[in-house]
Amino acid sequence: MTRALHRWPGLLAALLLMTLALSGAALSIFPAAYRVAAPQAASGLTVATLAQRIEAVYPTVGQIRRAPSGEITAYWFDNGVPGAAVIDPTTGQGVANSDPNQIERWLTEFHRSLFLGDNGRIVMAVGAGAMLILAVSGIFLVARRTGGWRRWFSRVRGPMSGRLHVEFARIAVAGLMLSSVTALWMTASTFSLLPDEAMPPNFPSQVSGETGFAMADVPTLASTPVSALRNLTYPYPDDATDVVTIETDTGTGYIDQGTGEMLAWADLSGWARVSETIYMLHTGQGAALLGVILGLMALCVPLMAVTGTIVWLVGRRGRPRIRGNVAAGRAETVVLVGSEGGTTWGFAATLHAELTKTGQAVRVEPMSSFNPARYSHAKRLIVMAATYGDGDAPASAKSFLDRLEQAQPAPGLPLSVLGFGDRSFAHYCAFAEQVQTRAEALGWHQLTDFDTVDRQSPQDFARWGRALGQAMGLDLELTHQPVVPASQDITLVSRRDYGAEVQSPTAILRFALPRRSLWQRLTGRGLGRFAAGDILGVVPEGSTLPRFYSLASGRRDGFVEIAVKKHPGGLCSGQLMALEPGDTVHAFVRRNPGFRPDRSKAPLILIGAGTGIGPLAGFVRGNTRGRPVHLFFGMRHPDSDFLYGEDLTGWKQDGHLTRMVTAVSRSQAPSYVQDALRTEATDVARLIRQGARIMVCGGRGMAEGVSEALADILAPAGLTPASLKAQGRYVEDVY
């Protein structure tokens, strides 16, 4: 809901907001320029003295005005010819032309009404309203994205356009809210919707009828500082019934021209004062610095309009179109999708297509639209839920659990929950599990057993599909072709070969980092940002299914590096192992935020075997801050498959690595990495007590062995691998 409230006004008003923001930013320069250019009155200078000085130079002066910038303008009438000039208050002399700046006038008219009169003012007010809605909804969206109000300023991840959008918003949102609220107030004031009209006092019914009292001697003027002056109007020459009119920042009064007495005075009303303050805040007239700051903030608007539109376009592209989606009221099967990135929508589209083929009426919609009252013909509900970040609900499913609590479970409406996730995360499919648990507790009937799909596995999906088919009495074969992210060619620059002697041909392959265009960076296309521990997807020739390798380098290293072991008959590893420098492969990056060293200073225990050393070596290479790092590395023989052997020695000397323990399996006393852990049990236990974080990378067998060894090592301290995992201190990247 908040997202829709952000998206649609944003897209619709983007152009209008850009014109408003750019003209506003341009206008913000003027008050500052006037403030700098205008000769300022010395503090303590009174209106009486100022009037005296001006009269000495311009005897026929009829009006003296002070702008909020401090600029003083005098108007006079010489032999029927009107004159005016900007005055230097120290001399009373005219120093500059007082004609309003034509560019400023043009911009003002454009900014407030697009030269369309009242209709234009209303259009611009709608723009200000849209700006306010965008600012408020955006504040909530940022809180949601960063995971709470306290983390509102924390780093955001994802494609550049989204990051920039949030960063600009953080800079500008306060100013944009101020500008839009004040704009709406000013519009209301212009259309007389506010009781803020400045009311001059009633004209005195009686005046002395005398003339010629010197302005310099008028008590009120002698006690009014120039800084408080707005306007001083002289009586008409030869009109004894006229008066002196003085306007200050507190009110308006009439002074007798014969006696210098104040005849009538009216304070500014509270409303009028508020309106004046609002006017100052919006225009910067009288608050030039604020004006410039607001103007700079306004410059973020076009940038946000562009990045925001790209975010929308990219998000739309990522979600497949569902052909023949039935209305909610007519559907027999309702599929609810909760997905942040859009991959789960692909699975939902496959399910939709297959069920539709069997003659079912199927509705696919986001989980946030869940509303059982609309499903009048539904016979079953299917929830396909991904997990966002660290066990959170995806954005399109945030409100689902609340709605589920309120909904009445219907006996004829059984529910099936399928979770999508990545087993390498500590909270695998946590949100889907939560949905399942709540649904059960609330008494929803189960259509199938709870199931999960690991890393978009088509096999997992097909297995669940068969169970669903059985429950529905259908022969359902779901063949899902995962959406392969747009890949690009990367070129091998060097390779280092290992392991041939121990029947385990392995290579460290280093590819050149392709240059990214600005558009690719904005849309998150191209290889994007990556760090060691992220995943490189390689699409082999003759296949559409990518294979995944852990990255041993980050973008900062300036190259793309992976460690590959040749699998007998392996299509992708075979092709990679056959690469020569200059050859290319199709590849893309998938982020793996769960497998990163955190940013703390606590010791790091890295455990890996074989090609699992890849990301661990990347972490060591990137450890420039001297964090204690302890590496446990298992290999077959140090003379053959000691991947990164020389580099690790060098890194140890440079202080990137505190300690390295190797385990060699092809020796007289074969040892595996879990054995090395047990040998070092005391040290390992001590490190963990100090808050160490454990990162494991390698084959599943090794990971299980490591987990068992750690269980034994931790038991005396009352800890378990599971408890460490729950704290996020024990992460695995297993294949």
């Binding site: 108007y75 009438f77 004609d99 006038r105 009209e197 109007t233 009119t245």
Partner: protein, 156 residues
């Protein structure tokens, strides 16, 4: 323009015979090219004693700005009832305003004067920029204003 006639008739207490002999008058105001936003203009009549008699036309729709037409405002206290039904749009820089109305014969050659107050946003106020006696002989003779009004004339 009937309401105007009625207003004038009431405020000036002109008698029925006077009213019977009314004639159509065209008031033409040409503005200088002063380059600013649209000008607010108040056209009104004073008697030989300088007292306010009634309004003929108000160019400018927002009453909150009427106080800048300072003479008219002082006479009327900003009472918008004075210009009800005889209010039009403000007049752009370099443009002209033409108003046709039926004016009582009794207003001419009897010491009445026609005033025009002008005001432009962010520019100097110009009350009674035009003050022209209403005479039969003066009809068709253009009068120059001091600031915003290039020429004003009334003709039968």
């Amino acid at each position: 323009m009937k309401p105007l006639l009625a207003t004038l008739a009431v405020t000036t207490a002109l008698t029925a015979p006077g009213l019977a002999s009314a004639r159509p008058v065209t008031l033409t105001t040409n503005l200088n090219n002063y380059g600013g936003p649209g000008a607010y203009l108040a056209l009104y009549v004073t008697d030989s004693g300088g007292n306010y008699v009634g309004s003929l036309w108000m160019a400018g729709g927002r009453s909150r700005y009427y106080r800048h037409l300072s003479d008219w405002y002082r006479f009327t206290g900003g009472n918008t009832a004075e210009v009800n039904g005889i209010t039009g749009a403000s007049v752009g820089s370099g443009r002209s305003l033409t108003v046709s109305l039926d004016l009582s014969d009794a207003l001419f050659d009897a010491g009445y004067s026609l005033h025009i107050d002008a005001a432009v946003e962010n520019y100097r106020e110009s009350p009674s920029e035009i003050v022209v006696p209403l005479t039969t002989a003066g009809a068709g003779t253009p009068v120059r204003g001091r600031r915003y009004i290039a020429a004003f004339d009334y003709s039968f």
